[in-house]
Assembly symmetry: D2
Homo-oligomer: 481 residues x 4
C-alpha cells in the first residue's frame, strides 16, 4: 500500500459507477467534458503529495507507514493547525475551490471513530472495530471519499417517518443476515462522481419511531443500485475558454442527488443500524470536524476577495478614495477575522472520545457564521470596487480576434496598467464574484457544512451560560444559585 | 406617424449597424442567437401598447397625436406616478428585466430639454430648438433609444485630458462647418444593439481644460464609425431551455462597449460642444430622471424576491420557523421601503426648468441607495430559504428524460407540492438569484444608474442642512446665525 | 365647555390623586421638584393652542364647537397628515420629548370607537354609546388622558390566568350591579401623574380561560384605589441647571407602575368586561393609531440627531473628512426614511370601522421598526462625530465660576466657534445622546408603542403575501392556485 | 521599596494637587464625594495584589525585586496573555469599570522605552536612560500613573501651529538650562485626579513647523501650574444608593481637562523635545500597547452584557422565544469574537525594539473595532431583552419604604424569581446599559483608546497587501510584478 499517483487516482474512477449527467448515463467520468474537469481538479490532491515543496505538509509517516496527512487522526492543536494549513494550501492550488476528496471523508471517519465505541458500549455491538478497519482500508489505499449526509427531506416540518413518501430520508428497508438494504436519496453529495467510496451518515437526531432512518454505512461508488444524478449547475464554465473563465475552465466540484435504489450493504460496512439515539451524536460528531474543514478551505477564497479588491482598486485608479479604503478595510477585517477565529479554534482544540482532538466548537461555529453571514456583503464590496465591466465585458473570442481585441486593449487601459492586464484581472474577478461559479460560492456560503441557523444553534450550545450568569448575579448582589 | 408594431420595431433593427459579438460582426441582430432574444425582449414594449388591457397606461393622446407614454414630458406627481407604473408593468412582463428602450432615452431627453435652454441663454446658442426637434422626431416615430454616458475613463484618478490616451473619454476631435467629429469610447451602453438611436451625454462635470470632452449629441445606431462591441456576459442563458432558465431563455438585455471611431455628427444633432460648465448640469439632469426610472423598474425584481422566499418557504415546509419569518420580514421591509420611497418621491415631485417635473431627489436617491445597498442581503435571504438545491439540481434534460426525471420528481416533493412543481419554483429562483443573470442583477444593483457613492453624494446634497442645524441651535440656546 | 388654559390644566391636577415618588406620597404634583417639571412640560399642549401662529393646526371648529385637534376623529389622509404635523410641532416645542397627554388618549379612543360597535353587535351590549359619551366628555372638557395597557405580566411565557399570582394582569375581581371592581397592575403608564383621566386597555388577545382579564375602562386619576408609583428614573435632570442639561432641566415625562387596588368602575365607564374575543382587536385597534403617533413624534428627535451631527462636525472642523460625510449621510437617510414612510403611511390611510381612518399598517410598522432598529446606530454616529468631550466636559458651575470658566472657554474653541458656543452645542448633544435622558430615549426606541418583534409581526401580517406569490408562480410557469 | 497598601496609595493622593470639581478647588480628593469614590475604586489594584488568591497573577518577582505585574515589560505571548488576564481580573473586580492607574502608564512606558533609544541614535540624546530611570522609579515605588495624550485640538482640520490660539496643542514655550516650560491643555485624561504621576505624550505625528509641539515628559501630579479640571459627568452615581445604582455607587473613573499653565519640567523628566519626526512613532508606540489594554479590559463588560441578557431572558420567561435566542447568539458572538481576537493577538505577539513584545497590531485593531462598532447594537439587544422597566422602575427609597416596596415586590415577580431578585437584576442592568454610566460606556466604546477611524486605519496599515495581491495575480495569470 502506498500513496497513489494522480494517474492511479484517475484510473480508479473508470469503473462501473452509475452517473447521469443531463439525463444521460456517463460511461467514463474522467473523459466527460464537465465531470472530467472535476476529476482533474480533485487530482490536485495527488499532485501536491508528489511535490517536494509540499510533501512534509501533505504526507505523514508513522508506524502505519506513509500516508496522506488528511488521514492523520488529530491528537491536539498542532495536528489541527497542520490539517488546516494543508486544506488551505490545496484550496489555493484549486484556485479557491476546495478539493474535498479526502477532507470530508476523514471528517466523517473522525466522527465515526469517536461515536462508534459509545454505541458498542451501549448496545454491545462491534461498530468500533468495523470503523477502524474501514478507516485503515481507506488510508492505506489512499482513497477518495464522498460523504452523503443531507437527506432530500421532503416537507421539512415533518419527521422522516411522517413524510408522505417514506423514502424522503434514507432508510433500512430490509435487514438480512449478510447485511442491510437501504433506499432513499441524499442531496448535495459533493465529489461523489469522482470519489472511490461513499460514507453515509444520518442528517439529524432520530426518535424511536424513526429508527429505520438511523443508519450509517459505507459503499464503493460503483455499488449496484447507487445512482448518482450529477447536477447540471455551472455546466458551461468547464467547457469555456480559460481566457474567459480562468477558474471554472479548470476547476470544478460536482454534486449529486444520490439515490439508493435498494442498495445492499454488507454488515462489515454498516456503522449504525437502528440505534436511533446515536443518530444525533454521529451527525454532530461529523459536523464538529467538518465545519472546521469548511472554515479552513474558505481562507483562500476570502484572501482572493481582498486581493481582487486591492488589485482592481489600484488598476482603476481609486485606491485613495475614502469610500474605497473603507470597503478595503471591511474586506480585510472580514477575511482576517475568519483566519483569527479559525486558528484560535484550532489552538483551543482538545481531545474528545478516543483521544481524537476536535477544534473548539464555539469558535469554529462563530467563524463559520462570520464567513457565511458576511459573504454577500464582501462580494458586493468587490463588485463595487471592480466596476460594472464585470458584466459588460468581452468574451474569449473578443480578445483573440484582432478586429475587436484592438478596441478592448486600448479602452481598458487603467492606472499604470495595460488594457490586456486589466482585462485579465477583471476576468478573474468576474469568474470569482459574477458568474455561475460566483453564484455557487454564494449559495455554498449559506448552505454548505451547515446553515446559518445550524451555526447559531451550535454557538448557543457551546457557550458557557452559567459562567456569564454567575458574573452578573455576583455584580447584581443576587445570592449565588 | 403612429405607434409602431413589434414587427416594425424588429424590422427597423435590420440595418447596417456595426455590432460585434464574440469577435465576429453580426449581420442581422434580430436573428442572432443571443441579441435576437434581447430584441424580442425589448419588443415587449410594443406588444404592451397594443394590449387593450394596458393601452391607457401605455399610450397618451394629446395635441401632438397618440404616442407612447414614455415620451410624455412629466408635469407633476401624477405624470411621474403613471410613468413609474408603466415601467413597473413593462418590467414585470419582462420577468423582472427592464425593457429600457424608451425609459432611458426619455430620461436623457428630459435632461436635455431642461438644460439646453440654459446653455442657449448663456451662450446664445440654439440647442433648445435642436433638442425639441429631436425629441419630437423620436416621439413621433416611436423610436427605441439607447444612451451612452459612462466613458471608459482609464485611470479614474485623472481628468479626461490628463489620461495617457486622450480617447479614454469621448471627445470632439474636429469641428467642421457641417458638424463635429468625435472619438473615444463609452462603457456599459444598454440596449444599443437593438435601439434605433443613440444619445450621448457627458459623464461628469468638466473644467475648461476638458472642454473638448464636454460634448452631447445623438446619432442613428447605423452611423458610420459607431462600433458596438456587445458584451459576452451571460451568453448561455438565451441559448438554454426555458425549462432550465425560465427568465434568461426569453429575456435579455445587451450592453456594449461603444466605440466612436471618428464619428461625424451634423450640427442639428449636437446638443453640447465645448460649453464645459454645462457638462455637469446635463449629466445631473439626466440622472435626476433616470434614477427614478431605476427605482421604478426594480420593484418587480424585489417583489419577485419576496414572492420567491414566501413560495419556497411554504414548499420547503419551513414557513413557521422563527428564523424564516424573520428573514421574510426583512425581505418584505426591503421591498416595500423601496416602493414607499419611490412613490413618495413621485408625490413630492415638482416642476423644474421648462416646467418639467422631476421627482424629489432626496427620496429618489435614498430609495436607490436602499435598493442597491440591501440587494445582496436580500439575495442571501432568498438563497437561504430556498436551499442548496439552487446549485445542485437538475438540468433541462434531466427533467425530460424519464430515466432521470422519475427520480427528480419523486425526491423533490415537498410540503403539499409535487416534485415537478417544486422544481419549477426552484428553477425560477435559481435563475433569479443563482445564475449569470443573478450575478448580472447583483452588479447592476451596485453600478447601474449611479454607484452607491453617487447616491450618497446626492443624498447629502439634497438634504436641507440649514434647517436641521437651526433646530439644534435653537434647542441648544445658541444665537441664530 | 371650552379649551383650557395652561393654568386651568395645572390646577386640575391638584386633586386627591395617589402618587408616590421615591417611597413618599406626593401631596401636590404640580409643586413637586420632578413631577412639576413633567406637568409644565405637558402644559406646552395648552400653550400651543393659545399661540396664534399655531392655532389653526392645534384647534378645530365644527358642529361640536371648538376643540383640540387631537380630539378630531381622522376621516382620511388629510386628517392624518395634520395630526402628524401637530404631534411633530408639539414635540419640537418639547425639545424632542413628546407631550402625549392627548395623543395617546385619542389613539385609545379611536380604537375603542372602532371596536365597541362590533362588540355590541356580537353581544348586544351598549359599549359604543358609552365610548361615544366618554369621548365627548373628554373632548369637550379638553382633558389630559393617560392610557394603561401593558400589564406587569410576571412570567411572560404564561397566560394571565396561569401566573402564580392572579394579579399579574389587571382583572375583574367582582361584578356588581353598579359596576366592576378591578385589581392588578400595569407597567410603564406614561403621563399618568399629570393626566386627568386614565383609560385602561387589554394588552393582548385573551382566550376564554382569561375572560376576567378581558377588561377595558376609564377612571379619573384621583379614583380611590388607583395607586401611581412614579418612576425614579432620571430624577436628577429636572433638578439640574439648564446650563448643564438644557433638555432635561425643563422637559420630563413621567411613567408609573399603576396599581389597581380594588378599584371600582361604574358601568358607564366600562368598555369591555369579559368579551374575551375582542381583547385582541381592541389592543390592536389602539396600536394601529398609536404607532402612527409614535413615528410622528420621533421626527423632531431624528432631526435633532442629524442637526447635532452637522453642527458639531462643523464646529470640530471635520465636516470634510470622508468618514464624517459617510456618517452624516447615514443619519440623513435614517431620519428622512422615517419621514418618508410616515407621510406615505398617512397618504395611504383609509377608513375603517365607523369611518375612522387609520394609516397604512404596513408602512406604519416598517417606519416604526426602521426607527427603533436604527436608533442606537444613529446615536453612535452622533457620539462619534461629537467627540469624547460628551462625557469628560464641565458642569454648570464650571462655566459660571470664572476660575474654571476661563480655561473651558479658551480650550473648547473650535472651527469658527468660540469655546462658549461649542460648549453649548456639546452640552445639548450630551443631554440628547449621553445622559439619563439619552438612555431613556434608547430604551423607548426599543420598547415604547410596541417592541421590535411586535412591529415585525405586524409587517408580516399586513403584507399581501398572495400577490407576491402569484407573481412568482406566474413567472415560474406554475399553475395559478 | 515595596508594593504599596491600599491605604498608602490613598494617603499618597493627599498632596497639594490642583483639582477643580464643579468650579471649586478640591482640598483632599480622597474625601471628595465623587472623586473619593474614584480613588477607592482605583485602590482595588492594591487590594488585589494583597489577595493571596490573586497574588501570583498580580505580582512578579525577579532580580529587580517584587513588583506589580503591570510593570513587567512583556517579552513574548505568555507575558501578554498574563497581562491581559490581570487586566480582565481587575476590571471584573471593578464591576466592569477598568482600574487603569497602572495599565495606561505602563503602556506609555513601553512606548517610551521602545522609541527613546531610536531618538538617541538619531540625535545623540540620552532619552533612553532617562526613561529607564523613570520607569524604575515608578515600578519600585508602585506608583499610579495617568497619561495625557489627546490635545484639545481646536479646529481639527488645522495643524497645531496653524490654530488661532497656539495653546490648543501642548507645546514648549521656553527652553531653559534646567528644563522646559510647557503650556496648553489635554482632553480626557483618565485617573489623573487620583494618580501620582502624569506622563505626557504627543497625540499625533508632527512636521517640522510643529516642532515645539513634539514634546513628551512626566511630572508629579502636584506640580505647580498643572491644573486638573475634573469632569462633572455622572456626578450623581457615586452619590446614589447602591440599591439604585449598584455599579456607580462604588465605582468611578475620573477624567480631567488637563491644563498646563506654564509648567516647568526638569530635563531628566523630558522624553521628547522638538525631535518632531519621533512624535508619530511615540504616539503609535504607546497606542500599540494601549489598544491591547483596551480590548482586555472590555472583556468583563461584554461578558456582563451577555450574562445580563441570559439572566433577564430567564427571569422574564422569554428564553425560548426565537427572537430572544437570536439576540442571545448575537451577544455571545459579539463577546467571544472579541475574546478570540484578543487572545489570538497576544499569541501572535512578537518582540519589537528593545525586545519589548507587542501584540499583533492587525488583530488588536480588528478586535478593538469589532468591540467599538458593535457596542451599541449589543446594548440595544440587552435593553430589548431586559424590557422597558429599565427606565420606568423604582428608586432606592421605593424599595426601602414598605408602603411602596410591597407593590414593587409583588408586581415584579417573574419566571421562578421573586420581585425582589428580579428588581436587583434589573437595577444592575439599568446601571450597566441605561444610566449615565451606560452612556459613558457607549461614548468610551467609540472614542477611548482611539476612534473607529483610527482603528480602521491601523487595520489597513497592518495588513499584508502584497501577499493578497500576489495571490490574485497568480490566479489571474498576470505576470508577477
Amino acid at each position: 500500500m502506498a500513496l497513489r499517483t494522480p494517474d492511479q487516482y484517475l484510473k480508479s474512477l473508470q469503473d462501473n459507477r452509475t452517473v447521469y449527467y443531463r439525463g444521460t448515463r456517463v460511461p467514463d467520468v474522467t473523459k466527460h467534458s464537465v465531470i472530467g474537469v472535476a476529476a482533474r481538479h480533485a487530482a490536485i490532491d495527488y499532485h501536491l503529495a508528489e511535490n517536494p515543496e509540499h510533501r512534509d505538509l501533505c504526507v505523514v509517516s508513522d508506524e502505519s507507514g506513509e500516508y496522506s496527512r488528511y488521514y492523520q487522526i488529530p491528537r491536539g492543536p498542532e495536528d489541527l493547525l497542520k490539517r488546516s494549513q494543508l486544506i488551505e494550501l490545496a484550496t489555493t492550488e484549486g484556485a479557491t475551490l476546495v478539493i474535498l476528496i479526502k477532507e470530508i471523508g476523514t471528517d466523517a471517519l473522525c466522527g465515526l471513530l469517536r461515536v462508534s465505541s459509545s454505541i458498542d458500549k451501549a448496545h454491545n455491538t462491534t461498530y468500533a472495530k468495523r470503523v477502524q478497519t474501514y478507516y485503515e482500508y481507506c488510508r492505506d489505499n489512499d482513497l477518495a471519499i464522498a460523504v452523503a449526509q443531507t437527506d432530500v427531506k421532503g416537507d421539512r416540518g415533518l419527521k422522516p417517518s411522517a413524510q408522505t413518501d417514506p423514502d424522503l430520508y434514507v432508510r433500512i428497508v430490509e435487514r438480512r443476515p449478510d447485511g442491510i438494504v437501504v433506499s432513499g436519496a441524499k442531496s448535495h453529495t459533493s465529489v461523489s462522481t469522482n470519489a472511490n467510496e461513499l460514507i453515509v451518515l444520518p442528517t439529524r437526531a432520530m426518535s424511536e419511531s424513526d429508527q429505520d432512518y438511523a443508519v450509517s454505512f459505507a459503499v464503493p461508488i460503483d455499488t449496484p443500485g447507487l445512482v448518482l444524478l450529477a447536477s447540471a449547475f455551472d455546466s458551461h464554465g468547464p467547457q469555456t475558454s480559460p481566457i474567459e473563465l480562468p477558474i471554472s475552465a479548470n476547476h470544478k466540484m460536482m454534486e449529486t442527488t444520490t439515490v439508493f435504489d435498494n442498495v445492499f450493504v454488507p454488515w462489515d460496512r454498516v456503522f449504525l443500524a437502528g440505534e436511533h439515539e446515536f443518530a444525533g451524536p454521529l451527525a454532530l460528531g461529523f459536523v464538529e470536524h467538518h465545519r472546521f474543514t469548511a472554515i479552513s478551505y474558505k481562507l483562500p477564497l476570502v484572501d482572493a476577495l481582498v486581493g481582487s479588491a486591492l488589485l482592481l482598486a489600484d488598476m482603476n485608479g481609486i485606491s485613495r478614495a475614502g469610500h474605497v479604503r473603507e470597503k478595503l478595510v471591511q474586506l480585510i477585517s472580514y477575511a482576517e477575522t475568519l483566519r483569527g477565529l479559525t486558528n484560535y479554534a484550532a489552538l483551543k482544540g482538545r481531545p474528545r472520545e478516543q483521544g481524537i482532538a476536535s477544534p473548539d466548537p464555539l469558535y469554529v461555529n462563530m467563524a463559520k457564521y462570520h464567513f457565511a453571514h458576511g459573504y454577500h456583503d464582501a462580494v458586493r464590496n468587490v463588485q463595487d470596487i471592480a466596476g460594472g465591466s464585470l458584466v459588460t465585458g468581452p468574451g474569449a473570442e473578443d480578445l483573440t480576434n484582432e478586429e475587436t481585441a484592438r478596441y478592448y486593449n486600448k479602452y481598458y487601459a487603467g492606472h499604470n496598467v495595460s488594457g490586456e492586464d486589466r482585462l485579465k484581472a477583471l476576468t478573474f474577478v468576474k469568474n470569482l464574484v459574477a458568474s455561475e461559479f460566483g453564484a455557487y460560492q454564494e449559495v455554498l456560503a449559506v448552505h454548505a457544512e451547515g446553515s446559518l441557523e445550524a451555526e447559531k444553534q451550535m454557538v448557543a450550545r457551546s457557550y458557557d451560560n452559567a459562567k456569564a450568569i454567575e458574573l452578573v448575579k455576583r455584580l447584581a448582589g443576587l445570592k449565588h444559585s
